[in-house]
């Protein structure tokens, strides 16, 4: 965690929250699958998990790195201020206004840079822009708590209920995330939606999906669960980073399979289940 230290600003040092710095690797406008309406996604750099299926492997390390993209070296990661980002986010306001959209923080994992995340969400909130994060909740609960006053929607990844299997495929066990999910739900401060990446060989059996759905349905206030089918769009990036892709040869789940899993969710709980974000 020390890598993040230089961006942790001590509370006592009074400064404009718009000057808070963070490290991002991409901004995507007109995102339509990550929260309500048309959204701008800010992708933060750095994550504590190493999910084998991760479609943004260049997001995992906090350090700025180089990736080969179509034969050319591309610098991944840059340092920005909240002020710069909110100006960019403001640009699509006409589209948020018509669609009920807004800002989504993704990554990487935004909880790894809690001050920056908090301040960026705050800036959006103060301007009346809807806020969301896409996060797997693997962080001290205090970091989540910091964000909650400014967070309209939490799209929380729950990947598996089995701690051992979770650890095997992501590098960490899942106890803290499950606990954070419950605490977040209990706080009642944000609209919590559970998202499940459906990964063949990892969690794509009816029993596994039902296990997650069953857990999600016990979280107070949670009404929705999204099943996100595995895709291979990130595969080339592993090559670009000189890394091995462990899921080589695995096909995305078929539409029929996804429908079966959706029915399986409905069989065990009353949650509204949708395929895709």
């Amino acid at each position: 965690m020390s890598a993040y230290a230089e961006y942790r600003v001590p509370e006592r040092k009074k400064m404009d929250y718009l000057d808070t710095k963070g490290r991002i690797f991409d901004v995507q406008r007109y995102s339509i699958h990550d929260g309500p309406g048309i959204r701008t996604i800010v992708f933060l750099k750095g994550c504590v998990l190493r999910c084998r299926w991760c479609c943004n492997p260049e997001s995992q390390e906090f350090r700025i790195q180089t990736m080969k993209v179509q034969g050319k070296d591309k610098i991944i990661g840059r340092d920005v201020t909240v002020r710069e980002m909110i100006e960019l986010v403001e640009k699509d306001r006409p589209y948020y206004y018509r669609s009920g959209g807004g800002l989504t923080l993704s990554g990487g994992e935004c909880l790894c840079q809690p001050e920056f995340s908090r301040d960026l969400l705050r800036a959006a909130k103060e301007r009346g822009i809807h806020t969301a994060i896409e996060s797997m909740a693997c962080a001290p609960y205090e970091h989540i708590e910091m964000l909650l006053p400014y967070l309209d929607m939490y799209l929380m990844d729950i990947k598996h209920t089995n701690p051992a299997k979770h650890k095997e495929f992501t590098g960490r066990s899942n106890e803290r995330m499950m606990e954070n999910a419950r605490k977040t739900a209990l706080s009642g401060k944000t609209d919590l939606i559970i998202r499940v990446p459906v990964i063949p060989t990892f969690n794509d059996t009816v029993e596994e999906i039902q296990g997650i759905a069953g857990f999600a349905s016990t979280l107070p206030g949670v009404k929705k669960i999204h099943l996100l089918p595995y895709h291979r769009l990130g595969q080339d990036k592993y090559d670009g980073l000189g890394r091995e892709y462990f899921l080589d040869g695995i096909l995305p789940p078929s539409n029929e399979k996804m429908e079966t899993l959706k029915k399986a969710v409905h069989a065990v709980c009353g949650l509204d289940c949708q395929i895709g974000g």
Binding site: R29, I32, I38, K91, P94, Y95, Y97, R98, G101, G276
Partner: protein, 839 residues
């Protein structure tokens, strides 16, 4: 209130469509023969009389046919999707291309040997008598030179009729041609033989009467044919259908329609026969859902009509709109690729009081396009702040099918834009779209909307060559570009070349305009446009209430990016000298000369030698060709040109929501739209700019050298007001915001903004919602028009490889939809290359 639920497609429609596309379209000679016969018999008579006589002669004798299972009848050719020819406008190109038209790349037509013979025979009569020949003799030599040098192309109306009009369909539906004849008679009765305009007016009104009578007779021929076919038909169901068809044709369009079915048949005769009188395309049905609605409503209330049958009739009309066709010269066919007639039909929007008038038929028109899934009509949707949400969702569902329809138009921009051109508020609220994207007041406008393609890149080339092009003085001598010391001076030179070239284009357009008035006035069309009957003159002579000429400029994005790059790199950052920039353009940024450049340079050198009286034999040709082919920059220079290209790449580009660049682009667009406004046309109206290229951005890009925005020589230029392909890297919202920063109000002849989406961007109800929100947001920012290609890149690539599997694949090309597999390879490539949005 209106219904939005799906109405199932009748199996008849599938069969009608299959029959329509069973064969390659064919050229027929009946009309050409008949008009020649008539003209030979009427030599020396007033032209308006000759036109009416010829129209009547054609309608009395042209072969007629009722196709299997049709409910709406009236075909201009025996062959499905066939076409007649119009030698009175031009014939030389057809004569030259008779043997190649079947095998050419864009829009091929089958033609029988017998037909070729007949056409060659009639063409003899027309030499020296066509509108195109007269137009040429009216043009200034410098305008002709500019055309030869591809600065602009007025080819559309030079070779063909004008079209581009919406007539008063509602009047024909209400009172029939008997009613219109009565109006003309009443006007005639008011004329006194001593009136100054008696000769002209009386002949015009008599021509109107004769034309309308001919149409009534034509419908009677169909009534008789239907009766005859019914009497021989063994299938009782079809027999009954044929009797009803006969009954319809006996009543309409002679009389006002008494039912929805009659209204449909009446509409069709108007639509078809306007396209027999003249070869002008973009005969646009306009607000079909509005003028047809009273008949629908009455029949529904009386219980005489089911929604299913009404839908089937609409579907039949949709099929018929694809049955009409037109052969163009090979070069124009590239520019208008896709056999398109641009019959624009628009639904939704406001009435004259500003109330939303979306109705059942608005929805059913969208449904009809879903059912037939064909390029015609060019379906358009009017959007305003009060548009019902479910109406737009239904439209978005059609977009999702990938047919490239509908196009979306913004009332909030178009209404004030038309008011700015003199329409009243009430008239402007009733606007419709002509052809691709051109707004106008229906029933009283002669917009001449597609008057020319103007290549905004060419005047910049003239700046670099001090007014010269391929050894000839084409533009103005604006001075040595390398000696221009400020950006202001450089930009001024561009503006001067623009203004000069625009004046030449105006000259060419006006010459063609006069030629149409003198040689091809159209009495039938004029009977349905205000205020021709009252004024006693045809549309072509200025009979319409509103008269415009609307040539369209294209390459706005290229010019904005080019001028911006020069400002930055040469004048502000001084990273590149103007001399180097000029050389880099000549050497195509180090890429070397392509075949086209080599051929052009060789030809020019040879011409120069001949002009100087030097001998030119085969040996000289090959030695010059070799010399040109071997011309290469030094390796250091080549590297520098490539470096310049990289520097240009890094300069911000239009289409990425960068206000500085976008507002600069707005100013660049003014270099075209502002000078235009001061010019008048011979019909008493004014010029107005449009910014849309149909599909001409590909062939005309092929006539343009490398441009300072980094575009390589002879590659396509940007399409409409859209950013250059591949330059918009921040996604659809950024591109839309950039485009909205152009001044769309002043471009009252229309602007065109294309976006391409992968189908999953519209998946589910939520996808549709977000899509509609995107359109609304662009329109909030005062964009004028938006259209979409929804198809995957993989699909398009596969369609290129296996065209046989994609016979029905429709894509939005520019202002219209076309069958992908019928487009030329380069246009296909361009469509594929356009940035895919959303992922």
């Amino acid at each position: 209130m209106f219904h939005t639920t799906d109405i199932p497609k009748s199996s008849r429609i599938t069969r009608l469509v299959d029959n329509l596309y069973a064969k390659m379209p064919e050229i027929e000679s009946a009309r050409a023969k008949l008009i020649t016969e008539s003209y030979q018999a009427t030599e020396g008579m007033p032209i308006i009389t000759r036109r009416a006589e010829a129209f009547a002669h054609i309608l009395r004798h042209i072969p007629i046919i009722i196709r299997d299972e049709e409910l709406i009848v009236g075909s201009s050719t025996l062959a499905p999707r066939g076409c007649q020819t119009f030698p009175e406008y031009s014939f030389q190109w057809l004569e030259d291309e008779l043997d190649t038209v079947e095998t050419r790349n864009a829009d091929p037509f089958y033609i029988a040997e017998e037909t070729k013979k007949e056409l060659r025979e009639v063409h003899k009569y027309w030499r020296g008598k066509t509108t195109s020949e007269l137009a040429t003799s009216y043009m200034a030599p410098e305008a002709i030179r500019a055309i030869d040098h591809n600065i602009f192309t007025p080819g559309n109306y030079f070779y063909n009729g004008v079209g581009h009009v919406t007539v008063k369909y509602e009047e024909v539906l209400a009172i029939g041609y008997e009613g219109i004849i009565a109006k003309a008679r009443a006007e005639l009765n008011k004329c006194q033989v001593g009136d100054g305009d008696y000769a002209r007016k009386s002949h015009f009104l008599n021509a109107v009467i004769l034309s309308c009578q001919a149409v009534i007779e034509y419908a009677q021929r169909y009534a008789m044919l239907a009766d005859e076919m019914a009497s021989q038909c063994s299938d009782p169901v079809r027999k009954q259908e044929l009797y009803v068809i006969a009954e319809n044709c006996r009543r309409v369009p002679a009389k006002g329609a008494s039912s929805f079915y009659e209204a449909c048949q009446s509409f069709w005769f108007v639509q078809q026969l306007l396209q027999v009188e003249s070869s002008g395309h973009s005969i646009s049905p306009g607000r079909f859902d509005q003028y047809m609605y009273p008949y629908y409503k009455k029949d529904m209330e009386n219980g005489n009509l089911s929604r299913e049958f009404a839908q089937e009739l609409l579907d039949c009309i949709w099929v018929k709109l694809n049955d009409l066709n037109k052969v163009r010269d090979a070069a124009s066919a590239e520019g208008f690729a896709g056999y398109s007639l641009f019959q624009n039909l628009i639904v939704g929007g406001q009435n004259k009081d500003g109330e939303d008038v979306t109705n059942d038929l608005s929805i059913m028109c969208i449904q009809a396009s879903m059912h037939v899934h064909l390029p015609m009509p060019s379906l358009s949707v009017r959007v305003w702040n009060g548009s019902p949400h479910e109406f737009l969702i239904k439209a978005a569902e059609l977009t999702r099918t990938g047919i490239g329809l509908p196009a979306y138009y913004n009332d909030e921009v178009i209404i004030p834009a038309l008011q700015n051109r003199g329409a009243t508020l009430e008239e402007a609220r009733g606007y419709n779209i002509i052809g691709c994207v051109e707004p106008q007041v229906p029933g009283k406008t002669d917009g001449w909307h597609d008057a020319a393609f103007f290549n905004m890149c060419r005047p910049l080339e003239l700046v670099f060559a001090n007014g010269e092009d391929r050894g000839e003085m084409v533009g103005l001598p604006t001075g040595d570009v390398t000696k221009m010391t400020t950006f202001h001076e450089f930009y001024d030179a561009y503006k001067k070349q623009m203004e000069y070239c625009i004046s030449l284009m105006v000259n060419a357009d006006n010459a063609i305009d006069v030629a149409h008035a003198e040689r091809c006035p159209l009495p039938f069309l004029s009977s349905m446009v205000d205020d021709c009957i009252g004024r006693g003159i045809s549309v072509q002579e200025g009979g319409a209430v509103y008269n415009f000429t609307g040539p369209q400029g294209f390459g706005v994005a290229n010019m904005a990016d080019s001028l911006y790059a020069i400002r930055k790199l040469v004048y502000e950052e001084k990273k590149v000298s103007m001399e180097e920039y000029k050389e880099a353009l000549i050497w195509n940024f180090g890429k070397g000369f392509d075949q086209q450049t080599i051929t052009e340079m060789t030809t020019d050198l040879l011409k120069k030698m001949q002009a100087e009286g030097k001998p030119v034999d085969e040996k000289t040709v090959s030695s010059i060709l070799n010399a040109v082919m071997n011309m290469k920059p030094t390796p250091e220079k080549k590297a520098r040109y490539e470096e310049i290209h990289n520097l240009i790449d890094e300069v911000p580009k239009f289409g990425n929501d960068i206000p500085d660049v976008d507002y600069f682009a707005r100013d660049v667009a003014y270099t075209y739209s502002r000078p235009m406004e001061k010019y008048k046309n011979p019909r008493g109206g004014q010029f107005q700019a449009g910014l849309y290229p149909v599909s001409a951005n590909v062939p005309l890009g092929g006539q343009t050298g490398a441009t300072p925005d980094g575009r390589y020589a002879h590659t396509p230029v940007a399409d409409g007001v859209s950013p250059s392909a591949g330059n918009d890297v921040n996604g659809p919202t950024a591109a839309a915001t950039s485009v909205s920063r152009l001044d769309h109000f002043i471009c009252s002849n229309g602007t065109l903004f294309n976006q391409k989406f992968h189908p999953s961007a519209l998946s589910g109800r939520e996808g549709l919602e977000k899509f509609v929100a995107l359109i609304r947001s662009y329109f909030d920012q005062k964009g004028m028009h938006m259209q979409f290609n929804v198809v995957s890149r993989e699909t398009l690539l596969d369609a290129q490889e296996h065209p046989e599997n994609y016979k029905h694949l429709v894509v939005r090309v520019a202002g219209y939809s076309a069958l992908f597999t019928t487009l030329s390879r380069s246009l296909q490539d361009d469509i594929i290359r356009r940035t895919e949005q959303g992922f």
